[in-house]
Symmetry: C2
Subunit: 312 residues, 2 copies
């Protein structure tokens, strides 16, 4: 399979990023950043999560954020929901895409959301049931899809059962998440080949972390396998609280930059996205790992005199 010429990028920094930041960002600042992102050409933005406020205090303002944003036509606004209660709240808040994420690894799922994988899958059934007859839809997330820091290799059979379940609920996209950044390009390819073989009608996406510096290389492996749906965090912010020495998702604008350089269309205004990444950086008050916002695009030509460095 060859690389798609048009891909779909989903921004998850406001949820996967902010949920582990120590800094509590006021709702109005989140809203301002989401409104900026809505004008970049992104078609999917994960704006918050509907977990219990005690579990993820950084996202305790979920309803306020959802009510405060200016919804851009054509943009789908998503949120992470761990259970039926979260689904009800998200639906009431008018969230388009409810992200239901369960880890293939039992150990990881228990640490992450205090449910076994089996219990998590039951919660997904309840989330799916909650969306029935509403404008909201369930989007699938299979966490630790490429390995677990506690268990190592994950069970392919378990992953297949999760795929079956999500497809049974008509999940329009199923994101395979490298939650703790243990994937490598080979494992990405083998996993996608396996799932393509067993579930030819499924639409797969990749949710990658850059924990070991392989995030963008893993995304390239996914592109080469024909994957069209990718998630990232602007500036590379984010991470996972239970991942050993976790770091963030792949940097959205660095990934979009690579795609554009390769002639792949994202529908995104990269300059506007870089501006949004700088806004996120200011909001958090620290330098984020994104590279293109510092180096500029590869296609930007520089004047020679401006770069002259004294060498003698």
């Amino acid at each position: 399979m060859s690389a798609a010429r048009t891909i779909d990028v989903s921004e998850v920094g406001l949820r996967d990023g902010l949920q582990i930041e120590r800094t509590m960002i006021p709702a109005e600042q989140k809203i301002a950043l989401i409104d900026t992102l809505s004008k970049t050409g992104l078609k999917k933005i994960e704006i918050t999560g509907f977990a219990h406020p005690k579990v993820i205090p950084q996202l305790a303002d979920a309803e306020t954020v959802a009510a405060g944003i200016k919804r851009e036509p054509g943009v789908r606004y998503a949120a992470f929901v761990p259970n039926a209660r979260g689904a009800e709240r998200a639906i009431k808040a008018g969230i388009d895409d409810l992200k239901a994420g369960v880890a293939v690894s039992d150990s990881f799922n228990r640490l992450n959301v205090r449910m076994t994988t089996e219990e998590g899958m039951k919660a997904t059934d309840e989330i799916a049931a909650a969306t029935k007859g509403t404008q909201s839809r369930l989007v699938g997330m299979i966490a630790t899809a490429f390995g677990c820091p506690y268990e190592g290799e994950v069970s392919r059979d378990r992953m297949h059962r999760m795929m079956d379940q999500l497809l049974g609920h008509d999940a329009p996209i199923i994101y395979l998440a490298d939650t703790t950044g243990v994937a490598n390009p080979d494992r990405i390819r083998r996993t996608i080949e396996d799932l393509n073989k067993h579930f030819p009608d499924a639409t797969l996406g990749l949710h990658l972390h850059n924990t070991r510096g392989l995030g963008i290389a893993n995304a390239l492996a996914g592109l080469d396998c024909g994957i069209r749906h990718f998630e990232g965090s602007i500036g590379g912010l984010g991470g996972c609280p239970f991942a050993p020495r976790a770091v963030g998702n792949i940097c959205t604008e660095d990934f979009v930059h690579m795609a554009h350089e390769m002639g792949i269309d994202t529908g995104i205004d990269l300059d506007a996205l870089i501006d949004a990444a700088r806004m996120a950086q200011e909001m958090l008050g620290r330098t984020l790992p994104g590279m293109v916002m510092k180096s500029g695009k590869a296609s930007e030509l520089h004047a020679m005199d401006a770069q002259r460095v004294k060498v003698d």
Copy 2:
């Protein structure tokens, strides 16, 4: 062409890295780091450069470094040489591999070494002549092989002429350098395909920078094209003084980690290499960009209790 199962990694941090660091590292510290690297299984280590000391003061101790290291049998010690004078010094110092680098882009080459590409190629002829009848050999470097920050696309004809020249001098490896980090996986593939077609007997290598976060993805594209020779800097240190807002080479241990995770043999003891990266970090007194030295290897399993985070 499919990925090689055995690759050859060359460490260039002591030259490409240190030449732009503001910190002047004493020769004995460089020697200690090189001696540590010599025991990691690396077969190629670029230890210094023989430019005029006024041009690159950080490498003014080239002779002292070359004389001070303990040479490990089977390891080739390399150095960058800009001209005949540098070649004579390097040969006298017992350097195995003389790296002669010329940029395809005239603008870049003039800024970098104050010679046009044509003059640089003449210098390469002189370096090659100097190695005749010695134990030293010429290794080729084509800089700005994937684009120039001042000129944009580089001429393929010019690159072919440089290949012809280097092959005429029996260069055993010709490294294609993405000097300022403007490459993308597609351009890497197209360039390698073109050179493989026109120069089927050449042995190509990749010297990549991570300026825009694509270094490891570009290396993956090279691996996929069957490239077997790669350069990197431990910890990701390094860069280029004339590259606009330059950052370092790809991080050697992060790249080796990826290769090992993909089942590709490098002959390198990754744990020993990570220790060397930590040593480089201490030597420079600042956090280097390498990721695996912070996160640990993907294959390392973690105890669940050690990672428990309070969530309520």
